[in-house]
Structure formats: C-alpha cells, structure tokens
Symmetry: C2
Subunit: 276 residues, 2 copies
C-alpha cells in the first residue's frame, strides 16, 4: 500500500516511524481510535489512538515480563485480577500458572477484545479458559467492589492518557491494596524512565506510599520507546528476590527464565537515584 507509515510522536524531539504494509481493520470505539495493521517489522499490531500497543513478533517480551515476575514471586497465586490487557496476551500468560483457579479480567473497551479475538488470535487465545470471568467495565470502579480477594493484581494499561489515566493514581493503588489478600501483590506497567520520567517516578512514589514493599524492574521492549521500559511491583509481603523453592516452573517461555527473574530487578545507579 505504497509509502504508508505509522508515525509515533513520543516527545517534541523524538518520533518513530513504522512501515505499514496494510490496514487490516480500523474503527472508532466508544473510548478510542482502534486499528489493526500489518507492520513491515513486527507482523500484525494493535494501534490505539495512534500508539502501537502490541505486535505479534515482540509481544512475548511485554506479556511474559508483566506476568511471570509477579506470578512467580507469589508462592500460591490462586485468584488473579487483570485490569486492561484487552488484547489477551497477559491473560494467555496467566493461564499458564496451574495454581490459578479464578481470573477476573476487566477491560473497559469490549472492541479491543473482539478485534483481538478476530485479528490477533495468537494473543487472544485464552478467553475461553474455564477459570476466566470477563467483565467489560472500568477497572477503576471494578476493583472497589472487593476486599481481600486477590493474590495478584496485574494492571496492563495503556499510557496515562485517555481511558487509562486513573490507573496511575494513588487512590487507585489504595483500592488495589484493599482488594488484595494479606500477602497479595500488584504489578503495573510504569512507562519509560527516560521519556516519561515523571510518570515513572510518580508510579513508584504512589505505590510506595500504599504498599510496604515496592520493586521496580526494567525490560527493553523494541516496539516501545528506546531504552528500558519499566514495571513496578507493590507487595504486602513477598519479595521477588527471595523466591520459595516450591514455586511453579512454567515451561516453554521465550523471554522469562530464572536468571531474568532476578537480574531485571538490578537497577542502574542513576535509576536508583531517580527513585530515592
């Protein structure tokens, strides 16, 4: 389709262009502009409000790394809540944990789920798992309904603009804290420490004022901005660097392994300074 590019303006001084070989589908949902495109570099990708969310070829990095460090930190993750993640990639990784017996998944935009099922089946392949209850509503309100229910909460949000902005607030983390059991933990994607430094720092600060233990880890994700991407864990009790020996081993992963689990929490000195 000629010289067609997705151009992402990350800052006033940094733009990235991905060659688009085809528009598979596009629509305006109740919440956002949605497109499924064929990229030259990464296969099919989901675009929301002009920002690349996930691609077939590199999505394993983001999805394995938002799920397994937290899930493997908890010795017995039985009840899990996923907020966001309508493409299904996070859910696909969570169902690999056999100790899980109940998964609530809350996505505000049903059209993200429907289009992912139709056009990104390698991601949206676990919605039929018997343990999953799907809730099409706002995660910010959903989480308020529960007290002491979950072992692990995973906040797989888009950037803090549009529908996701509340998911980065201290009030929301307090509601998540209340919804977790006494030894529960939450993991959130917390943006780039270089390009979205204020968000990165405020997530850490907000979580650490609510949870007794806060851990940041870094993972470079090729379809996001350059440099490392960050995730942040808020934990009531468990420490990702002190794993119990009986935790579940998940076979067949492409990114996560035991060495990665420990090493991603080792932060460069300037990031440690940033979080002081």
């Amino acid at each position: 389709m000629g010289n067609f590019w997705l151009q992402e303006k990350h800052t006033d001084g940094y733009e990235v262009k991905w060659k688009i070989d085809g528009i598979i589908h596009s629509e305006k949902t109740k919440y956002q502009e949605l497109a499924i495109v064929e990229t030259r570099e990464w296969g099919r990708a989901l675009i929301l409000d002009g920002a690349l969310q996930t691609s077939e070829k590199d999505e394993f990095i983001y999805h394995e790394m938002i799920v397994h460090p937290a899930m493997c930190t908890h010795p017995k993750p039985e009840k899990v809540l996923i907020i966001g993640g309508g493409d299904g990639g996070t859910l696909r990784e969570v169902v690999k944990h056999s100790r899980v017996n109940e998964i609530d998944m809350v996505e505000i935009d049903e059209r993200v789920i429907e289009n992912s099922k139709k056009y990104l089946p390698s991601l949206a392949c676990a919605f039929d798992d018997q343990r999953v209850s799907l809730h099409v509503e706002d995660g910010v309100w959903f989480v308020k309904k529960f007290s002491g229910k979950y072992d692990v909460v995973i906040v797989d949000s888009s950037d803090p603009v549009g529908p996701a902005v509340q998911l980065f607030s201290r009030d929301f983390y307090q509601d998540v804290f209340a919804a977790l059991k006494n030894d529960g933990l939450v993991v959130v994607q917390s943006e780039s420490p270089f390009f979205y430094q204020e968000t990165f720092k405020s997530v850490y600060k907000n979580i650490s004022t609510v949870f007794p233990y806060t851990f940041t880890y870094l993972v470079p994700i090729p379809t996001y901005v350059s440099g490392p991407w960050s995730f942040t864990i808020g934990s009531k009790k468990h420490d990702p660097l002190k794993l119990t020996s009986d935790r579940e081993h998940i076979p067949g992963l492409k990114y996560y392994n035991e060495g990665i689990h420990t090493s991603v929490f080792c932060l460069p000195s300037f990031i440690k300074e940033m979080l002081k």
Copy 2:
C-alpha cells in the same frame, strides 16, 4: 532552526527522527561525513555518515558499559588497547582504573578526535592522561604489530559499514587474540540482536571460534535502536561471573554497579537460543 530533524533509517520498516536545534559543525573527513549537532532530546551529539554515535545525555550508558564489565572482570588490567572510540568517552572510563599503566588508543579518523575535543569536552577529557598513547591509524593493522602485550582490548567501533567493517571479522579477532596476554580479554560492541541479528550472531560466532570463553551481555541504549544493544566479551581465562574479591572499585559511576555487572549477562531465553 525550524523544523530540522535527523532521520535515521534503521531498516526498511523502522525509522527514528531526532529533532535538531542546531548544527554546531559539519565536515567531510577522509573517511566519513561528520557532524556535531544540538539535539532537542539528548544535548550535543556526534553524527557519522548520518547515524547518531553518541550524545552528551545518554553516552554514560554506552561508555560505562563497554568498559567496566570487561575491565572489572580482569583482576589486574595494566595494559589496555582501545580501537575506535575517537569521541574519547571510552578512554575517559578506562583511565578511572588506577591499575592501568599503559593505554594505546587507535582511531582511524583524527577529525573525530579533534572535533570531540572541541565540541564534546565532557567526553574527550582524558586524551592528556600520561598513560595514553594516541595512534591515528587503522586498528585492523595496528593490532597485528603486537603479541601478548595487552590485558584488555576494547573495540569501540561504529556500525559494520564504512571504515569499521573489518572490525567485525574473524581474522581481526584472531589478531586481537594474539595481541592479548595469556589471560587477556576483548570486549566489542556487537549491535542489536533484533535489528541487526545477523551481525549480532556472527560476532558471537566469530569470537567463540577464536576465544575459549565468549560472553554476551545486553544493555538498552536510548539513542540507539529500540530494544537491547549487545556487547560481546572474548576471554582467554577470566569469567565475568566469577569476580575476584580484590578487584578495583570505581566510584562515581552513573550506570555500572555490582548488581549490573552480574545481571547484564543473564540473557532472555530467545537470545540464548539465537546464540546456540
């Protein structure tokens, strides 16, 4: 200066644009097109043949991480050879090691050094160190002159196009092997495992056919392509994961620390597969 951008075409499907607020200097040297520009995002940057080489604001990552993992792996790095690195950032990090008593630095393009001294003084600040001998010539030929001389060789090359192409060959690594002492080691920048996968794999393969021990490590560098950047160590004896207790501690670094030293060698599963 209006709407002026450095546009880097990394692949047919991936381009990056950095806003340029000013051209400080530009010239055609004997070897390449050289420019010093003021970027919106990263301060002053050195551009060679249209590719961003190093910037004031993120250069500490690349330079600390090409130098200290190798230098701290060797228990007594006294004689060091730097090939390339005309901007001076690698040299600045090497001179922080007090056990070093002789540094040969070989840069093919004198104009890179001269312009870095003039326009990037925070990088090119160690050329006057008493231990440094500067050689303006081709590193490929320089290294052939020596046998068993060096403890550590650092290959700080640009991409394998133009003057740097020989620095990625097996023949060159054999000459480096010969120039090293019996317990010497070499470190090279080995490109992106995503966007330049063939180079990444061939460097690993070439080094591992010459050296008994080969170690790859990953570091995300914001001014380079997205995802991780790679470095590869070829070692005759020393193992970066078995550090001697008396190694020198280098204070005041912004990226490198003991946790980083160990963790960067933990590779994601798909990278381990790629290197099999």
